[in-house]
C-alpha cells in the first residue's frame, strides 16, 4: 500500500508553488518581521563575544575567588545549567510520549525534541564563551578528562552523548514526515528527499520506526538522568563550598530541570499553536497534562527549597550563616525572594486550576514564563553566592555583577535559540503530520 498527499496543486499552479502543511516554506511578512528581533539579538551577542575574545575574560564581571573577591563562575555557568535543564524536559516528554503512547501529547513531541537539541547547543555554546582559551579547553577535555570528575559526566555525557542521542532521536522520528513532504512538489523537495533517506511508508518500515524510537527512548531516559545528576554533582560534591555540598543538589537539579523545561514547552506550544492555527493538533488536554506535570514537579521543588532553608539556617557554620544571610536578607535577597515568589505564584495558580479541573491557557502560559524566571534566578543563586559568600578560607566577602559583555552574550544565546526554532518551523513541520488530515491511501 502506498500513500499520497491530498493537497495536489491545481493544474494552473506551478509545482514550486505548492503549499506545504504547517506553514513550511512560507516565509511570510509576519515571520520575516518576527525574526528581525532574534537576528539583532544574535548580532549583539556576537559583538559582545568577539569583544571578549579580543580583550580576554577581564571584560566580564568574573574575577578570582578569594584574593580578588570575585566569582569565577557567573552568568555563563548559570546559563549552562539553565539551558541543560531546559533540555531535560523536552527529550523526557518526547520519550515518554512514545514509550507510553500518550496520543494527546503527540502534537508537542517534535517541538519538545527540537527544544532539547536547541537548548543543548546553547548550553554547549555557553560553556565555550566561559572559557578564556576555548580550543585548549575543548581539546584537553577530550584528552585528559577524569571519569571520576562530574565534569566528565557533564560535558562528555550531556553535551556530546546526550546531544548526539537527541539529534538521532529527532531524525529517526521525523523521517516519515520528511518522506511525505518530499512527495509534494516544492522548492524544498530535494531537502526532504535527503532527510527521508529513502523512507517508504510500508508496514515494515513503520514497525522498524516504532522499534527504533522505543529502544532509543529507553536508552535516552537513563542517560539523561545520569547526565543531569552529574551536573548537580559538579556543585554537590564540592565539600569545601558551603551552599553547594549536599545530597539534594542532584535530585534538585533534575526536578528544577523538569520545571523549567515543561514551562518552556507550554509557552512554545501555545505560541506555535496560535501561529499555525493548530488548535486541533495541540488540544487543551495536552496543556492540562503539562500543567499537572508542572504542578507536581513544583510541589517537589518547593519542598526541596523548604528543606534546604531549614538545613542552612538551623545550626549553620560561620560560612553557612554568612551565605544564608546573603540569600535571605542580604545582597541576593531580591533574587532569592523574587524567584521563590515566581515559583510559588505559579504553583498556586496551577493548584487552583488543578482543583477546579479547569485549565486556562493564559494562566498556564503565565505559569510557564514565571517558572522560567524563577528557575533562572535559582540557577544564578546556586552558582554565584557560594563563591562570593561561602569562603572557608579567611578571605573577605566577595561580589559579582555581570558586565555588559556577559549580558550581551546572554541576549545573543536566547536570540539564537529563538532563531533556530523559527527557522526550523519554516523548513520542517514542527508538529507531526496527522494521518487523517494529510494523507489518503491509494
Amino acid at each position: 500500500m502506498t500513500t499520497d498527499v491530498i493537497d495536489v496543486p491545481p493544474p494552473d499552479v506551478a509545482p514550486e508553488d505548492t503549499e506545504l502543511p504547517m506553514g513550511v516554506g512560507r516565509f511570510d511578512r509576519g515571520w520575516r518581521t518576527f525574526i528581525i528581533f532574534p537576528i539583532i539579538g544574535v548580532v549583539i551577542g556576537l559583538i559582545a563575544y568577539l569583544y571578549e575574545r579580543n580583550q580576554g575574560l577581564v571584560v566580564t564581571g568574573m574575577r578570582d575567588l578569594g584574593s580578588m573577591r570575585g566569582a569565577t563562575w557567573g552568568l555563563y555557568i548559570t546559563l549552562v545549567v539553565y539551558f541543560v535543564g531546559v533540555s531535560f524536559a523536552g527529550i523526557t516528554i518526547a520519550a515518554v510520549i512514545r514509550l507510553f503512547h500518550l496520543e494527546q501529547l503527540r502534537g508537542i513531541a517534535r517541538m519538545a525534541e527540537l527544544m532539547t537539541v536547541v537548548a543543548l547547543i546553547l548550553g554547549a555554546l555557553a560553556i565555550v564563551v566561559d572559557l578564556g582559551q576555548q580550543m585548549r579547553g575543548i581539546v584537553n577535555l577530550f584528552r585528559y578528562a577524569r571519569p571520576q570528575s562530574p565534569f566528565f559526566g557533564t560535558f562528555s555525557l550531556v553535551i556530546s552523548g546526550y546531544l548526539f542521542a537527541s539529534i538521532v532521536y529527532l531524525y529517526v522520528t521525523s523521517r516519515r514526515d520528511a518522506s511525505r513532504m518530499a512527495s509534494q512538489p516544492s522548492k524544498l523537495r530535494r531537502f526532504f528527499q535527503w532527510w527521508s533517506a529513502g523512507y517508504e511508508d510500508t508496514s515494515d518500515q513503520r514497525a522498524r520506526d516504532s522499534r527504533t524510537s522505543f529502544w532509543l527512548a529507553l536508552a535516552i531516559l537513563p542517560l539523561l538522568v545520569v547526565a543531569h545528576s552529574s551536573l548537580g554533582f559538579v556543585f554537590g560534591l564540592q565539600v569545601g563550598r558551603p551552599g553547594w555540598f549536599g545530597t539534594l543538589q542532584a535530585p534538585a537539579f533534575v526536578i528544577l530541570a523538569g520545571v523549567s523545561g515543561i514551562g518552556h514547552i507550554i509557552v512554545m506550544a501555545a505560541m506555535i499553536r496560535k501561529s499555525l492555527g493548530a488548535e486541533d493538533r495541540i488540544g487543551m488536554d495536552a496543556f492540562s497534562w503539562l500543567g499537572r506535570a508542572l504542578m507536581i514537579l513544583l510541589f517537589v521543588y518547593v519542598y526541596f527549597i523548604v528543606v534546604e532553608l531549614l538545613t542552612i539556617t538551623y545550626q549553620p557554620s560561620v560560612a553557612e550563616q554568612q551565605l544564608s544571610e546573603a540569600l535571605l536578607t542580604g545582597r541576593y535577597a531580591p533574587i532569592f525572594w523574587g524567584s521563590t515568589l515566581a515559583l510559588l505564584v505559579s504553583l498556586i495558580a496551577l493548584a487552583v486550576m488543578g482543583l477546579q479541573k479547569r485549565w486556562r491557557l493564559s494562566w498556564l502560559i503565565a505559569a510557564g514564563v514565571l517558572v522560567n524566571v524563577g528557575a533562572l534566578g535559582k540557577r544564578y543563586l546556586i552558582v554565584v553566592p557560594s563563591q562570593t559568600h561561602g569562603q572557608l578560607l579567611p578571605y573577605g566577602v566577595g561580589s559579582y555583577t555581570p558586565s555588559w559583555v556577559e549580558i550581551g552574550v546572554a541576549i545573543g544565546l536566547f536570540s539564537l535559540g529563538t532563531l533556530m526554532v523559527a527557522v526550523f518551523m519554516k523548513v520542517f513541520p514542527i508538529i507531526e503530520l496527522d494521518d487523517d488530515l494529510e494523507e489518503v491511501s491509494t
Binding site: 577535555l141 577530550f142 584528552r143 585528559y144 578528562a145 577524569r146 571519569p147 571520576q148 566528565f152 562528555s156 555525557l157 556530546s160 552523548g161 548526539f164 542521542a165 538521532v168 532521536y169 531524525y171 529517526v172 523521517r175 533517506a197 529513502g198 522498524r208 520506526d209 527504533t212 529502544w215 532509543l216 536508552a219
Partner: protein, 71 residues
C-alpha cells in the same frame, strides 16, 4: 538475523565496548593519592568514550536507513 540486524547489533556492541574500555581502563584510574591518578592511562580516552556513544546511537540511524538485500 539479516544483515541490517547484524550490523546494528555489532555497532551497539562496538560502541559499548569503547565506552566501557575507555572509561574503566583508558582514563585515569579510580584513585586519588598520586600524580598517576590524575593522568589518563591512554590519552584521548574521553574522546574514545564519546566515539563509543556516537557509534552506539548511530546504530539507530543505520537500522532505519539501511536497506536489506531483499529490498
Amino acid at each position: 538475523m539479516n544483515r541490517r540486524d547484524t550490523i546494528t547489533i555489532a555497532m551497539i556492541i562496538i560502541g559499548l565496548t569503547l565506552m566501557v574500555t575507555s572509561y574503566f581502563f583508558g582514563a585515569a584510574p579510580f584513585c586519588s593519592d598520586g600524580v598517576e591518578c590524575s593522568n589518563p592511562r591512554v590519552q584521548w580516552s574521553p574522546a574514545v568514550f564519546v566515539l563509543g556513544v556516537v557509534i552506539a546511537f548511530s546504530s539507530a540511524i543505520y537500522y532505519e536507513v539501511a536497506k536489506d538485500k531483499r529490498e
